[in-house]
């Protein structure tokens, strides 16, 4: 194409005006007259490209896994968990296969949310609204309410996360000052038939267990005031 500029002017495409609009000045019906193709044979390049395709096809078709040495890196998830470096060494084994949390997921994998509980089973969350504030997807809805217990005062009457909207960024976990929300369930957002089913409620998130073996369900963070009232000690 670089040589085009050196060619005579009559060889570049030009236009022939067939009709001109009366109502809309500047609007014309034209025919584009292109120069004759000087070098119209594209066949060699096309065949060369098809050859590359054929090479990869035969390589992957006849020398597929588990022998290795293919270009396909797709895993047969969840049938074959990844183990070690070699992709094809492990056959799916129903006995040893992890049920829900395949071990090729890293420790810090962020799954669906769950809510932590206090020692007495109540929700840890104090409805401070830090997570809906920081949430970039606006997927967290909290309606705070007051409790009778003066040491708790505030709790979420409604805590809902729209898992369809969630972008799994984990900022809610980072923002939480009470270790009340975690994303260590190892679960993907399940397929749903209606949008409403993807909204996870407080009860649902309180029931969800952490799937990672190494994690405990309780939090080591302390909560509430420390020490007795001075009136009680005297």
């Amino acid at each position: 194409m670089a040589s085009r500029q050196t060619k005579p002017v009559d060889e570049v495409p030009r236009i022939e005006v067939l009709d001109e609009s009366d109502r809309n000045p500047g609007v014309r019906t034209v025919r584009v007259i292109r120069p004759e193709p000087q070098n119209a044979s594209f066949f060699p390049a096309t065949l060369k490209g098809l050859g590359v395709t054929l090479k990869h096809f035969t390589k992957n078709f006849f020398r597929s896994r588990p022998k290795g040495n293919t270009d396909i890196e797709t895993l047969d998830y969840p049938a074959i968990p990844r183990s070690g470096e070699a992709f094809g060494d492990v056959r799916p084994d129903p006995e040893t296969r992890p049920e829900r949390f395949p071990d090729y997921y890293p420790d810090r994998f962020r799954g669906l949310h769950r809510l932590m509980k206090r020692d007495d089973g109540r929700v840890r969350c104090v409805a401070c609204m830090c997570c809906p504030t920081v949430c970039p997807a606006n997927c967290i809805t909290i309606i705070p309410a007051e409790t009778e217990d003066a040491s708790v005062e505030k709790y979420p009457a409604v805590f809902e996360i729209d898992e369809l909207r969630c972008v799994v960024c984990g900022l809610c976990v980072e923002a939480c000052p009470c270790d009340a929300i975690r994303m260590d369930t190892g679960m993907h957002a399940p397929p749903v038939e209606e949008r409403g089913q993807a909204i996870w409620t407080k009860d649902k998130m309180l029931e969800t267990k952490p799937v990672h073996r190494k994690r405990d369900a309780t939090s080591i963070a302390t909560q509430g005031g420390v020490g007795p009232d001075w009136r009680d000690t005297e």
């Binding site: 104090v126 401070c128 504030t133 309410a145 007051e146 505030k154 005031g225 007795p228 009232d229 001075w230």
Partner: protein, 548 residues
Amino acid sequence: MSDHKTDNKPDKTAAGKAETTPPNTVTLTIDGREVTVPPNTNVLEAAQSIGIEISHFCYHPGLSIAACCRQCLVKVDKMPKLQPSCQLIASDGMVVHIADPDATLARQQMLEFTLLNHPVDCPICDKAGECTLQRFYFDHDNAPSRLDVAKVRKPKVVDLGPHIVLDAERCILCTRCIRVCDEVAGEHQLEMRYRSDREELGTAPGAVLDNPYSINTVDVCPVGALTAKDFRFTMRAWELMATPSVCNGCATGCNIEIHHKNERAWRLIPRHNPDVNQYWMCDEGRFTYRALRDNRLAGPVIDGLPASWDRALGVAADKLKAALDGDKSKLGVILSAQHSNEDNFVLSKLARDIWQLGKIYLGGKAPVPERADDKLRDADVNPNTAGVKAVARAAGYTLGDKSALERDLTGGTLSALLVLGNDIELSDEALTALAGLDALIVIASSEDRIARRTDVTLPCAMWAESHGTITNRQGRVQRMHAAFPPPGQAMPAWEIINRLGQACDVALGYTHPRTIFKELCGAVDAFKDAEWGKPVRPLQLRFAGSRG
């Protein structure tokens, strides 16, 4: 210092001219910068005037000086000790050092001392985000607590009165709230008791914090010790947007900020205006936001059934035309002291200048004499009585009052009524007569009172939802800004009247309340010097810094 004492107040026009320094000023040096202030200004305010903020908790511009928090210590040349700048009156030749290492260290240590027994429960504290202690902590100290013994625990969730809850642990003992009760409300209802680190706030013996200005204590509280039951735990401060407006609770017209989110008002906060309400407003006024979301009309109603705007305006216009073609003297119009000057002016123009009607009344709520005091609360619970009267006076007619309206209704001299606003409390006889009218067309915001008995009800915006001005009891024309749109299909009253006129073949042709206001300024003497002001974008409190 006493040489310079005069009772001249700071004059804004004089302060603008920097070259000609009036004799009644004081010049001092703050951190190497010369500052000229009026006499009797304290050093803290003098520093504020050049944009230097000295941290403080107990000082409040609207209250007396206590100097008990010791957070505003500064170093002054020729003075042996650090001085609390809020209590130190600026004098000529004074040299103040705010950024001095000694003074900075003193303030930092004072802050640590204040924080010693503070529970730091910011996540559940309603003040978080607008807390003075939080802000100064980040400015000054920003270090973890060095306390290695248990904190002093104090009562939490103490019910002080009908509107206020106290968390004594969070209290930093600044006594601002006590001074608000003493100096603003004039009732001594709060007190400090016990001593040293066990000192705590409580109600005075036999007293309950129930004065009509009690929620001002929450505004002045620099921490979250005092919280309003009304707003407590509903919203975090940083989620809200603030739009300046004027309280529509009574004729005083306190300047306020509407704090809103999701097209809903969540609280009203007083806005400083030295000529009207200083820094305060009454509790009743704060709760007027509830009317913005109760029983609101979202669409036009014909004979109790929902209808479209086109049909409702058509039916209303037909009825009005029939009334105009018949005996014109039997058609009455009611202006509303609850609506803005613009709404009333448009209706007044339509009724008087164009239709030449004789029966024009003033509607609004009945006065409540027992709520009046010599501070902010007024017996007239309509925000714009003065404005409507000024409009009527300029147009050269007298407004009929409620008794005249009742007399005309029961006497049968009215057959059709066009009503702005639904806040009219009529006698039972008059209400029966109202139901018997040939045509009753009401422009109403909520579906209570007379809006239930109408032929056509046209839903209008309320004060927080439309731009406009109202005139308070002093005759000040004050601007209200629309914070959020009206519910459903409701629209501002001036626009409804504009369309109603159009349906009756009268081209009023208003497109914005500003154009109405301009016409109003030319037509009415009382509005001669009034200004519409600049458009205001809602301020997101997340970025507003702290306001404690």
